[in-house]
């Protein structure tokens, strides 16, 4: 775990399409195993979507200072040396040996020939592309948790909740239909819930940053209908809403409907 405010700098390869070394190795090796081509090279060259990387870092509490594309030549004494490294110098060799239907040396020679066509023979040189990501762990949440107060909602809290709901829904993109993620609760329903004591908010400096709505499905069946936290205030370990159902007093049980 990084210290609060600590730096995280890492690099990932660009796409196979932008990296002839990986692309050639992947394509040529695949030709030897047409029914079951090894997918190894899709792994190191498969994590290069800047938006995805930024989102994952943000969700994990990092601030991204920059994503920098880097392009550098890869050099080798010869195309054959490069090919030997690409076929026997990483876990692709396990996949080749596992299939055991083509001699490794034959594959090395085929990869070498394909490499030479694009990068020469000796010296051998081909461009590589990568992404260098510079991020920083979130600073210490100063006094942090004590700055949040969980309390029954007041009428004036209700107008803030749609924005929280929309922002929180962004975390679910790809896991639920966009049409649902763009929807927000009916304000009339929220006001009614507030009046009935079925709406709680997490306040930061008197401004709502999260809320929980309980709906009574039956006299003995309160349902935690909605629970949303502004992502900028998420993951503070307060789990506001575990306290909400019991806080309703009459609720022996609460149900919740999402994974």
């Amino acid at each position: 775990m990084l210290r609060p405010g600590g730096g995280l700098v890492f690099s990932v390869w660009g796409a196979l399409a932008d990296n002839p070394l990986g692309r050639i190795a992947h394509d040529v090796i695949g030709r030897f195993f047409t029914s079951d081509p090894p997918d190894f090279y899709e792994v190191p060259f498969g994590f290069h979507d800047e938006r995805l990387i930024r989102r994952l870092l943000g969700d994990a509490g990092f601030e991204v200072a920059g994503c920098h594309p880097v392009s550098l030549p890869a050099r080798s004494p010869s195309h054959l040396d490069a090919a030997r490294g690409l076929v026997t110098g990483n876990p692709i060799l396990l996949a080749v040996n596992e299939r055991a239907t083509a001699p490794v040396e034959e594959i090395v020679q085929a990869v070498a020939a394909a490499l030479a066509a694009e990068g020469g023979v000796a010296p051998f040189e081909l461009e590589t592309r990568a992404l260098v990501v510079v991020a920083r762990a979130a600073p210490t949440p100063s006094k942090g948790e004590s700055d949040y107060v969980i309390t029954p909602a007041r009428p004036r809290d209700v107008p803030h909740l749609a924005a929280i709901e929309r922002d929180a829904a962004q975390l679910l993109r790809g896991h639920a239909p966009d049409s649902l993620l763009d929807q927000t609760l009916d304000p009339a329903e929220l006001f009614a819930a507030q009046a009935a004591g079925l709406l709680w908010v997490a306040l930061r400096g008197d401004v709502p940053v999260g809320f929980a709505l309980v709906r009574i499905l039956a006299a003995d069946l309160p349902h935690l209908e909605e629970i949303d936290v502004d992502p900028r205030h998420g993951r503070r370990g307060r789990a506001p809403l575990s306290s909400a159902p019991s806080a309703s007093g009459r609720a022996g049980r609460a149900t919740r409907g999402s994974r």
Binding site: H175, P245, S246, G252, T255, G257, S258
Partner: protein, 48 residues
């Protein structure tokens, strides 16, 4: 450990759901949520 389980919510099997909850899940499904990726959980605020 999944978030809600860590808070003490227990998973309810689809076959054990009360009518109200069956209807709730059906309503979600009709709005486009995949029921295979949903779960109904119960939180006991009072030990039984």
């Amino acid at each position: 450990m999944p978030f809600y389980a860590r808070l003490g919510f227990e998973e309810l099997r689809a076959g054990d759901l009360r009518r109200e909850l069956v209807e709730l899940v059906a309503g979600e499904t009709s709005r486009g949520l995949d029921p295979r990726r949903r779960v109904v959980m119960r939180y006991r605020a009072v030990a039984s």
